[in-house]
Symmetry: C2
Subunit: 325 residues, 2 copies
């Protein structure tokens, strides 16, 4: 009998659902709209129907399938309580008892668990990806924001309240750029995809770089992919964006190492497609900021989760960690 | 039968040794010189003799005593390997196999273990002090340097290589003050006792504060106790030193919270005697730097270990963690 887990990734606009096999391959998947109506009961109804349909369709492919459970990644997802708490980008108000409500819909499943998306990605890396066999590592996810998941002694660190691993909100430059959270100088304001865009404009301002390949794009048009393309064409501003981003990210990584001494730090997300453009300056900066006892020990590795499916796959991996207990 | 543990604290000039009961009280203690001759075998001989004498004297007090083991706190002490590695302030060269050598001298003991002094303090807090029953907390030790010990899920975090918990060397201000480790802008350069002295002189320079109670002390004379005394007398510079130190420490604590979401952060060391002068601005700054999901949740607490004995007591606590396994 083939054992599979269901992964659910709740985003601000879409909820992605997939059935994932024990190697981390998505067998079937679907999307529903994450509603703006704020009615959690209606959403749970819709989500349950979609999950049941997917289970039906995967059993058509292979009748000999056992569903182990459901893992969910969601903003402000609290593992301990199974709740989503005050998530700024979701319409549900206050504290939403997601796991409890899903357990009523799926009483037959052994494991239903919830955490935030970056924590789910870290567990996905540990169960299916490049962190297999690693006991101490950290995952940084670069996207609209910067998320992170911390693994110590083989377990994800949830901390006292379930919300550990918000390394994107460590202070990189006191009094620096405004972060999405309202504070100043956070790593996320420098190293996220929008952070890279801000750096590009900062550099165009500094050099009055009218000849940059990025100079014809508006503040709302420019994205990190365009910066990468320009860097490959030798654009000075674009290249310096990657150098600066790496410098900042490496400073943040060193802070993480000084806390946790991980075996590796994994990088996930759009900007990592730039390869050495981002990995090389990040590594150099991290080494520069490390105490001698940590130098040349910590690997910086690209995530081995496939970009399109990583959120679903990561969320599904939660099920395996639950069943270990 | 009364069970006791031996704690050894290896400092740059002195090695303190004590027999500690299961409540964390030091029953008997002694000191030997940490040698400058660099000969580890001679040092192990001296240390073993001193430990055996202490065991003899404690058995004279109470014949019904069982020695559970020896716990050692030492700079750059590596728990995994039982070695001291390239400790800048000790005369031993390279990697010293301290635990292995002590096991030869004390083959009858169940547990002999080593870590660095701040990690030992964290374990001491967990076994005997204010962190009893806490599963997730962090210990910061303020002294000549700033050390730290991280506890996750009830276990000290050693990380991949045994050296986790060097939070004093996170970057607080990029390009800022020179740290003892040679890097720039580390927390230790601002929040250690010498860091506070540097802040006092920075402020006297800024205000040309010839009327400050600190203005008649040389750079080498001024210490954190004098700053506290001046603050109590209403000295403006001294008060601002505590405000600034708290501001910086709170920024660092917030970074720690964003990594680990601890239940509490404990503060240990000389400057903590200043009480609210240091705790209040630290708490305010930490809250200011925290994401809303963490605000008003994390306690900042003074260590409950007695200052004079804390290093010995902390080291002895390692023995209990060893025996748990």
């Amino acid at each position: 009998m083939k054992k599979v887990a269901i992964g659910v990734d709740i985003g601000g606009t879409n909820t992605a659902i997939g059935v994932v096999d024990d190697l981390g391959n998505v067998m079937v998947k679907d999307n529903i709209i994450t509603p703006s109506h704020g009615d959690i009961d209606r959403y749970i109804d819709d989500l349950s129907v979609a999950i049941k349909e997917l289970i039906k369709s995967v059993k058509l492919l292979n009748a000999d399938i056992e569903i182990l459970g459901i893992g969910i990644g969601a903003p402000n997802g609290n593992y301990y309580t199974g709740t989503i708490e005050y998530a700024p980008n979701l319409s549900f108000r206050g504290v939403v008892h997601l796991v409890k409500l899903l357990k009523i819909k799926f009483p037959e499943l052994q494991a239903i668990a919830l955490t935030n998306d970056a924590n789910a990605a870290a567990i996905g890396e540990m169960i299916y990806g490049g962190a297999k066999g690693m006991k101490n590592f950290v995952m940084y996810t670069l996207g609209t924001g910067v998320g992170s998941g911390v693994v110590v002694n083989g377990d994800l660190v949830y901390g006292a309240d379930g919300f550990a691993g918000e390394c994107g909100h460590t202070t990189l430059i006191p009094g620096g750029r405004l972060c999405g959270c309202g504070a100043l100088g956070h790593l996320e304001a420098y190293c996220s995809a929008p952070g890279m865009k801000r750096t590009a404009f900062e550099l165009m301002v500094k050099y009055n770089a009218t000849d940059s390949l990025l100079a014809d794009k508006s503040f709302n048009e420019l994205d990190s992919k365009m910066i990468f393309d320009a860097a490959e064409k030798g654009d000075k501003v674009a290249n310096e964006v990657f150098e600066m981003t790496g410098k900042w990210l490496g400073q943040g990584f060193a802070d993480t190492v000084h806390h946790l001494s991980p075996e590796a730090i994994f990088l996930f997300g759009g900007p990592t497609a730039a390869g050495d453009y981002i990995f090389k300056p990040t590594k150099e900066s991290m080494e520069h900021h490390l105490l001698p006892i940590f130098q040349n020990k910590i690997k910086i590795l690209p995530s081995e989760l496939r970009p399109g499916d990583a959120a679903i796959v990561g969320a599904s991996a939660l099920v395996y960690k639950e069943l270990e207990k």
